[in-house]
């Protein structure tokens, strides 16, 4: 490569890590937020499951009480 081309491309390689890091960081930040959102969603989903369990438990207790009363 001649000296003029060397001058033209002088900043390409030194800036590459910064460009790669910039793009990677944008995706990383978004990825972390997506993971956080999914974790929160799964937590709420598990709470729904627990509620369903406790409701079915209450129904069974209610049925047992009703049969004793009969």
């Amino acid at each position: 490569m001649n000296s003029v081309l060397q001058e033209i491309y002088a900043t390409i390689l030194p800036s590459a890590p910064f460009v790669i890091a910039a793009y990677a960081l944008v995706w990383l930040v978004l990825f972390v937020y997506v993971v956080y959102s999914m974790t929160r969603f799964k937590k709420v989903e598990s709470q729904v499951g627990l509620l369903e369990q406790s409701l079915s438990g209450m129904e069974k207790t209610g049925d047992a009480t009703a049969s004793v009363l009969k």
């Binding site: 001649n2 000296s3 003029v4 081309l5 001058e7 033209i8 491309y9 002088a10 900043t11 390409i12 030194p14 800036s15 590459a16 910064f18 460009v19 890091a21 910039a22 793009y23 960081l25 944008v26 930040v29 978004l30 937020y33 997506v34 959102s37 929160r40 969603f41 709420v44 989903e45 709470q47 729904v48 509620l51 406790s54 409701l55 209450m58």
Partner: protein
Amino acid sequence: MDRSATKPAVGGLADKLALVLLATGTVLTTVAFILTFTVASPVIGAKVSGVELIGDQMIGNQLLLSQKIFYFHMPVAIASMVALGGTAFFGIRFLMTRDAVYDMKAKLCTEVSLVFILATMATGEMWTRFEWGVWWTWDPRLTTYFILMLMVFGYFVLRAAVEEPERRATYASIFGIIAFVDVPISFMITRLIPSSIHPVVFRTDSGMSPDMLVPLMCSLFGFLMIAFGLYRFRVRTEALALRVEAVKDQIDE
């Protein structure tokens, strides 16, 4: 606070649209990424000692790869500002109606805004470090945007500090509206203070060629769509959480 209205509409058109927008946004940003490094012309820097024929052009300046950061940096910054606009909008709606749903939506808008603020700061830092040789400089744009970031942090600190829901929502709404005031200031500061070293992109004589404009627009609309998709996903989750709390209350009674 109006607790009877604490059931945001979910699963409707907005949510169906959000899914489509999220997918489209992901595709658009990927396309923007590819176009940025394949089609968009590199920006030229300082003059060199001669001229060389590269492709079909005579080049007599340095070619700057670092400028490629801009194709993601500017769109994520705009997305953060638009999301903060949502904070102010829902804050005003809350103050008008006292409906807790608007407070929840304002909080989620601020959350999304914070995500994009962090992305903006990260990309900006990379640019600043390479082009200006420093990690930070008190340039007017950087300073006003830094204040914006601090205010968004402050918004969450305020929410964590106040326990009573109605007071928390009222304070947060007012604070969110005040934080949004910094958005037009930060956007316009490079035009108002000519000594600012931060480039001004949105202007009629920006000289951006179509091969640069297309990836930029793909990136801008892509990130706006992703922001909306993420926001709606969080609304659905928090709406479900509110319903769980309501059922728990019913069982306790």
